[in-house]
Amino acid sequence: MILITILLIAFGGAFVTYLAGKISGKLRNILAVLVSLALVVLISLIYRREISREYYTLPFLNLKLILMSNPLSWFFAIIIAGIGLLSILYSLEYMKDKERLDYYYFTLLFINASMLGTVISGDLLSFFIFWEIMSWSTYLLISYKGGKAIAAGLKYIIMSIIGSLAMLLVIISLYSRYGTMEISAIASYMQTASIGYTLFILITSSLSFVIINAFWPLHTWLPDAHAEAVSPFSSVLSAVLVRKGIYGLYLFMYVILGLNILNKLHVGFISFSSVLCGIGAVTIVFAAFTALVQEDSKRILAWSTVGQGGYMLLGIVFATASGMTGGMFHVLNHCIYIALLFFVAGAIEHRTGGIRNINELGGLIKRMPVTFIAALVGISGLIGIPLTNGFVSKWLIYKTLILGNHPFLAFAAFVGTWGTVLYGYKFIHNIFLGQLPEKYKHIKEAPLLMQLPMILLTVTVILFGVLPGIPLRVISAIQRQVALPPLQTTLFGIPKEAGELNMINVLFAILISCFIVWLLFRRAAKSVPVQQDDSYAAGSYVPKEKYHYTVNFYNPLSKMITPYLRDVASLFYLNIARGTQRVCNIIRRVYVGEVGYYAMYIVLFLAFLIFIQMFF
């Protein structure tokens, strides 16, 4: 019952919020917050409860639709609800003077509701239905801003439709073969399916998940969509929605097929997993260095979303205890810090009047200290600096790669991290450090309502970094559910027998070294800040903008790598689209407009039919 209540509140709340908006804006905002708060509370209530319940029947397909909750769905559901709540809170201030707010809140709540639907559905048809609802409602919100966002939205929806139709093919084929769509029933049937059929199911279904999770070479929708969407929604997009792909892959690979079958799927040393690993590795490296050459704050984050997906994939394809845990934990961690970083980008956009080009910013540390700390913590998490959550999950993934003898993959992961360090530093430096441009001298700190979600997420990044045992416990429940070996964990990390990691020790070590560094700095000579205006320019006046030395960061490196970063995939799709368009234009020329031809078509068709029947 509680699952149906969740769905009803989620979807009904969206509609009620929309209608409330027609009465007053205040009421709408309150309702939106209340609905998402209620969802968080309700979902917390079903922690550790295994429910499976029919809620609807489709007599003409002889199908029962089922809702279920288990550790896997709870894990994703709480992420969705949590990020949903924070993004709504953030929107209250961020979206204040934008237009069509009823529409905005309605769609945002609706997307959250459909995402919840996908993770708590216990059969593939409801999974698909919610998935499709998620696709089109997301489109409606990506394009919301107009302008460039229109093209981004169209790109997204077309790719998403392609993906979901592939999934439709899979689920209908399963349905017509086994007469059911219940995930647990299909899982038991699939144990006896032939290898060819299993491969068909796996490859076709993963097409849609690879698209939504934006793995190379199907990543092309993501950078545009994430950069062009409004910031609170960008954080939902890249924190939660994109990770539906991981959820789906996990669902098909481990819940439906299971490890036994997966291990059988190989020819020589090429197996399904190794293909996925390759995709993951390419995604990591390619995305990290593409992010490096971006100048747009949200685009950097969007590319980082692409890249971090690769780490998760590398984690979950290795069904070892540490790999799976690392992959799943990275989903959670990435979701927390990328939401935080998009909030940061949004806050800066909000205060500077829509500036996203980081070369025009700088020195905002003095004006927006809270945002700076949030960004610093977020970027640290992204890079994986100890004491942030990203460290633990990346550590687990590296450990899996190295212990599993995958030197190339491990190398790719490291290279990706170097890229991450570089663009992370660029992000922080160009926005917060350096020279404060004249026009931003009087900029204010982000409003309190926007600070609140950022502070919450910042605290969470640190909390999960120091006490990784809290989320790891949930994740080991997921693994137990599909009979994978769970990783033993303690509150502070991983006990000795599973490969020691104790964050408390790390914490003390870092605190002590910080203290030493601080002492050293105290002893050393002080630096004196000098205004750049005073610098000597051979007697002539130099405009102040010229001093802004953050422009063309990493210029030599960018010059070196840019030729290798041409987005071939994107061009390829563009050409396909153009080609289709051209073919379509030719096709409709059959309607020539001259009635004699039309009459001829009729006569020829008749002759053709008679011919066919005579001879067949």
Binding site: S143, L154, R588, Y591, V595, Y598, I602, F605, L606, Q613
Partner: protein, 502 residues
């Protein structure tokens, strides 16, 4: 006394009432169609138990008289016709203002008479006559606007349509020559009883499919459709797309399933359907200017999908086809009606003129979006349910060719998504470029809302609600569609019901 005869008699009688009432003529069609709607709803439970067979002309037992068969299939389609006819006629009260309006209403009711007659009759020549009633009134209605495009398309439609009806007549003559009967059940009985394999029979089938195919808009017989749909008044486009071509499809299904039960031929029907689907959808994607023409091409595509589903030739296929037929009738008439006033307001059929219309006509844009989503087959709208029924029927048939076709259907869905989302983004996300351009008639100030009149808004909102309702609660219609599909499959039952009642 509820009799299916009234379903035909009432629109026919009312149609000639319309010219008498000059001013009030526009209220005649809604009244007649409301009556039909109520009557057919009341007939549903009765028909679900046992088909009603009405004998006309002397009351001789079949096969010697013309009979009407109110089977679940017939009543389902009659219900659909009266529903769409009713809603469109309400819309027309405000929309049809210029020209000889009372003649419009007369012809409109005649068209619906023809359509209802086609789905109810059990006599093949009677089918032809009703077909001609439908065709002639639609030729005239397409030209109703009296502009050059309307006339041109009407003439082209007429030429193709009359070739088609001549072919139907030849087919009828061939069958009559073979069996000496016009009653469909009797012909079917003869064909299956003699298990005749004569070439004449094949030729007759070819003539029937070609003839009905012209009205049913299968490729390559559908060249009239984009012209006629795009230049007719929007109400007529809605009726043509929602009802007229459906009757053609019905006739093809009736001929192939009941008359000939040409099982081996069905894969060709499916192939034709797939080709129609592809050509229609691709042309729609290529048509970037004229929105009504785009919708017309999309109709061709959807008809292709329906015919494909009929061609699967299993119970599930027929079920999916009928379901899709209902959903397409609702969604496409919704789209034509919604675009009707939009075109009227912006004064242009060009797609680019629709930019930013979401703000000026919020409700119409919303219902347009719902209709478009339903046609693409996105849940939770009605089109999704029928599309998955068709796809699952295609895969269940366990046939490699059909599996390939299903993949083509999915591909066509992508194309459909492309062009419908193109319209949706024009409506909602693009800013209107030139404010002056956007409002040429009725002198509306550019920033204000200029929603369509309330009487035109009500029917399209009802259509949108129906689409959502069917999408969320498909049992609303699946019951009757199931028995209709069983009825169409069950040839022996049909023959027994009609020939064996006395």
């Amino acid at each position: 006394m509820l009799s299916p005869v009234l379903l035909i008699a009432i629109p026919l009688g009312f149609s000639f009432l319309a010219p008498l009432l000059k001013k009030g003529a526009k209220y005649i069609p809604p009244i007649a169609m409301l009556f039909n709607l109520i009557l057919s709803i009341l007939l549903v439970p009765q028909v679900m138990r046992k088909p009603i067979i009405v004998l006309l002309g002397g009351g001789w037992p079949p096969p010697f008289c013309i009979n009407l068969v109110a089977s679940p299939l017939g009543i389902l389609l009659a219900l659909l016709i009266s529903l769409v006819g009713f809603l469109v006629s309400i819309y027309a009260i405000a929309y049809i203002k210029e020209g000889a309006t009372e003649k419009y209403h007369t012809l409109y009711l005649l068209l619906l008479t023809g359509a209802t007659g086609i789905v109810l009759t059990g006599d093949i020549f009677n089918l032809f006559v009703f077909f001609e009633i439908l065709c002639i009134s639609s030729y005239a209605l397409v030209a109703y606007n009296g502009d050059k495009h309307g006339l041109e398309s009407a003439v082209k439609y007429l030429i193709q349509g009359s070739i088609g009806s001549s072919f139907i007549l030849i087919g009828i003559a061939l069958l009559y020559g073979l069996f000496g009967t016009l009653n469909m059940a009797d012909i079917a009985n003869n064909i299956s009883y003699h298990s005749l394999q004569s070439p004449t029979l094949y030729v007759a089938l070819a003539f029937f499919i070609t003839g009905f195919g012209v009205e049913g808009a299968i490729f390559p017989l559908n060249a009239w459709l984009p012209d006629a749909h795009s230049s007719a008044p929007s109400t007529i486009s809605a009726i043509l797309s929602g009802i007229a071509i459906k009757t053609g499809v019905y006739a093809i299904a009736r001929v192939t399933y009941t008359l000939f039960s040409a099982k081996g031929f069905m894969i060709f029907i499916a192939t034709i359907g797939i080709i129609t689907l592809l050509i229609g959808e691709m042309s729609a994607l290529g048509q970037k200017k004229d929105i009504k023409r785009m919708l017309a091409y999309s109709s061709i595509g959807q008809i292709g999908l329906i015919i494909f589903a009929f061609g699967i030739a299993t119970y599930y296929g027929i079920f999916g086809a009928l379901f899709q037929l209902v959903n397409h009738a609702l969604a496409k008439s919704l789209l034509f009606l919604a675009s009707g006033y939009m075109i009227y307001r912006v004064g242009s059929k060009e797609l680019s003129a629709f930019e930013g219309l979401g703000k000026k006509m919020p409700l119409s844009s919303l219902v347009f979006t719902i209709g478009a989503f339903s046609l693409i087959g996105l849940p939770p709208f009605a089109g999704f349910m029928s599309k998955i029924s068709i796809i699952s029927a295609g895969i269940k048939a366990n046939n490699t060719a059909l599996f390939v076709f299903v993949i083509i259907v999915l591909f066509a869905t992508i194309i459909e998504g492309c062009y419908f989302f193109r319209v949706v983004q024009n409506l909602y996300f693009k800013k209107s470029r030139d404010p002056a351009h956007n409002c040429v008639r009725d002198g509306c100030p550019t920033t204000q809302k200029s929603e369509m009149p309330i009487s035109a808004l009500i029917p399209i909102i009802i259509l949108a609600l129906l689409i959502v309702a069917i999408g969320i609660y498909p049992r609303l219609v699946t019951g009757i569609i199931e028995s209709a599909a069983i009825g169409l499959m069950d040839k022996v039952g049909y023959i027994h019901q009609i020939l064996g009642i006395f």
